[in-house]
Amino acid sequence: MVGTRSRNGWVIWVTFIVGLLLCVSPMPQFMEVLRPLWLALLLAYWTLSVPHKVGMTTAWVLGLAQDVLFGTLLGQNALILSLITFLILSLAQRMRIFPMWQQSLVILVVFGLAQLVQLWLSALTGNRQPTLALLLPALMSALLWPWVSYLLRGLRKRLGIN
């Protein structure tokens, strides 16, 4: 058991690296505003399924990586991601028994909240974003949640990550 755990823990990190790549992959101009919060989605899934491995500290470290990638202030995305993970963790008991569409709704609300904090932080740092279009990524993420979660569940079952 210990053997399998230590053998397949790296898969989680591989998914996070893929998530980071998806965060910066080039997209057509009109789709840029719709880019889902890939890292947050992955974090949400892994905190729900393996909370003893992925937690707020992981989220924080990944957030720092994202800050460097995006050129925002160090700590901005780290704050957002740890906030998301915190909210997911505190709702975890209920989320596990929800049907998929309800989970999507929770994701929408949590990510929406996080994006609002993001707006507030970027307004503080001087890059004011003009519209509420920044809520679209939260919507997109909520729509993608069922697929991401099925995919990752398949991966987890097959590789026996727990």
């Binding site: 080039p26 101009q29 707020m56 924080w60 460097v68 990638l69 704050l79 740890s82 890059n127």
Partner: protein, 337 residues
Amino acid sequence: MRLLVLVVLSVALMVVDARFTLLKPVRSEMSLVLMRAYWVTDLPQRLYEGVASQFGSRTELLAENEKLKTEALLLQGRLQKLAALTEQNVRLRELLNSSALVNEKVEVAELIGMDPNPFTHRILINKGERDGVVLGQPVLDARGLMGQVVELMPYTSRVLLLTDTTHSIPVQVNRNGLRAIASGTGNPERLELRHVADTADIKEGDLLVSSGLGQRFPAGYPVATVKEVIHDSGQPFAIVRAVPTAALNRSRYLLLVFSDSRSPEQRATEAAQAQEAADRQGAVPEASAPTTPTTAPAAAAPASATPAHSTAPAATPAHTTPATPSRSAPATTRERQ
């Protein structure tokens, strides 16, 4: 509890990062690894280009060759005119006794990524601190100014484009020299001129070039063309919209301009010295012996005095004052005036 710790930590990091330069090394170390992400996501595009160039058909290549030839011809033609103009410019500047025309050095960089945030206009290029890029360095493409470097990493750097909402650039109308400030609007095809008087002589189709004020961008590079001028009697200023000449969201190859890092005073002094040296070379051979004794003893430019030294022996026997190596040019220029 852990959230609290992490939040406090993040906020502390943000404050430190915003106010001090303490975290810059950390950030650049992290970027060494993380910037590979942009490289990886750019890979499909690169591969596609590679494959396309491998399998490009002969007719396509021929057509492209033809096109490039005509373009080269056109550019050659323009270059000939440019040579004449440069010559003329140098002569006129000499007449004005102003600083010598500085040829800026440029280096080609490649775009490796766009900022994922759609509300900011920033790009990543593949040249960084190790290539001699400095903060605030201007970036051009083949058609005009694109922006400036705002963040340095060891092998990459981040460039803020002209159209970002936080960016403004001092410009002037090429036709009549009217100065204005062009601010970004967040739309990649639009700049706005702020505070232009309603009666100002500016009209549709005018070319805006960088004015060099603000000492960030070199003067004379094309920035935008005026698209529309709206005179609204209810507004205190005219609304002037312009389209950037650079292909801000299409160019893949960019030019980094290396202008010299000297302060304007230094530059002026050195230019004056160069001017003096040039004057002396031109003036001394034809200057008659009687004019030279009036030279002031102290010359401002010992460094540039070497050419004078070489010409000195010819003149020395004629006059009584000992010819010092640093004889001088301020006097000669004075006489010429």
